[in-house]
Symmetry: C2
Subunit: 273 residues, 2 copies
Amino acid sequence: MLAKLPSLSPLLAMLERRSPVDERDAKALLELPHSLHALAAGQYLFRDGAKPEQCHVLLDGYVFRHKVVGDGGRQIIGLHMRGDLLGFQGSLLGTMDNNVQALTAVRLAAIDAEAMAELAQRRPSLAKAIWVSAMADASLSREWLASIGRRDAHARLAHLLCELFVRQEAAGLAAGDSFELPMNQEQLGDTLGLTSVHINRTLRALEVEGLISRRRRSVRIEDWAALKRAGDFRPTYLHLQEEEPAAHATSSETSRPLFAGWRSGSGKKLAFG
Amino acid sequence: MLAKLPSLSPLLAMLERRSPVDERDAKALLELPHSLHALAAGQYLFRDGAKPEQCHVLLDGYVFRHKVVGDGGRQIIGLHMRGDLLGFQGSLLGTMDNNVQALTAVRLAAIDAEAMAELAQRRPSLAKAIWVSAMADASLSREWLASIGRRDAHARLAHLLCELFVRQEAAGLAAGDSFELPMNQEQLGDTLGLTSVHINRTLRALEVEGLISRRRRSVRIEDWAALKRAGDFRPTYLHLQEEEPAAHATSSETSRPLFAGWRSGSGKKLAFG
DNA sequence: CGGTCGTTTGATTACGATCAAACGAAGTGG
DNA sequence: CCACTTCGTTTGATCGTAATCAAACGACCG
């Protein structure tokens, strides 16, 4: 009955990017009842403390999650783009512990969370795919944690730009070597734990070093290798199938030393496994 | 057939702390085949880049996850204690993107990841409980992100101490108003994105302010209300059933303003939902 | 053409890093 | 039982990255 391209196909595409979905399950997913909505930039999808009963599939535009700390500071803890599933975790946990807000104008499809959970229970390949996408999401948070905790402003910003580029590319949103930076400098600061002033200067630095150039909200990558190096960017944590251009052997990850920082006296290591 | 207390009961207890598990499913879980292991402090459970085929239930001791960034710095991205399930996410994603290492001497049970996943597929209440615990884990990362990004050293440390206390209490590990701090000051620094020197001074500050006292690796909470205040600690993000002593109305979370930091011109807010 | 939002730049401050060294506790071997 | 070692904690002095405060500038909009 659905006309040409089903509304939920961006969700399916996102899931299939990380885990195969068999044909019957795909069909069932696309036929899930849903309603379409449009939001202006700044509107909330979920608020901290809310009890979500629907989850949303992001069809177009950008969305961010954030937490507000005691002194009024805001930390952006996640960015979402086309295909991402929002609020599924909140519906499982019962209560949202963060805010989800539209970064740009946004189109989305709302699905009953119960129906979603029930479908996942009956469709193993879908359940797996949703699991994998949720775990990949968590993986992003952990990489951000490492970035904010242990990289300086320059590397942090370079890392975020790399991530945005690769994710947009994977979602079919990046054109060539340019991508959209859907946030202003204050929001960038709140994402990286910096101030907007410092973002401005750091952005400028990346530009004069010849790593990127900007025009309005669009960023062009002038030197991908150098940007990756500056940001210490290794895309494994994104858990996307395709491993980037090439020249990036995954096996090298496995053979890294990894003993850095541990100086316990207990002689034997690796006795387990 | 199982003698007295089944080995996997800490896992079941952890799951039931967040989501009910019905009796048949609980029994099936406890009967999962597994092998028991002991590790010394410093040994690795999983390494970045590994492809785990087993997951581990932590029976005793403490474990931490960490990432190593380009310049050799280490960021600790998670702490685990009795009952926690480790490596399930890694087995789903196929490749570990962080290291999991014993913080103290540790006892654990290893379960075949396939068997675990299959059991979850056949046992709805278990599947739900595992989902919820995984999502709660992700929720912790997000709170840590907010803490490292937007709280100063003093608040960050106070927040971590609050979290450790509440989690140990929930796991039945905290005695009265004292709890174990299973890490040294360098590890605390790597957890909070600070140096060990600064941890030392901040710890001292919390002590002279009368919020805590210490003896060896044990911390006693001298003023819980003040410590929570100092750390901006609101335990919602832990997603534990019990909501702490009392005097903490969850509904107050819902009614907070939450507009802080957003200054978009697009007049209407909250038009959605 | 004023008004608002976002970007850019400058001057100063401060929080936490870094460097360095002494001290204390626990374990080891003579 | 006491040197001796090792690991962790503590303290001091100085440095540097990023915050803060302040203001001008630029772009878009009605």
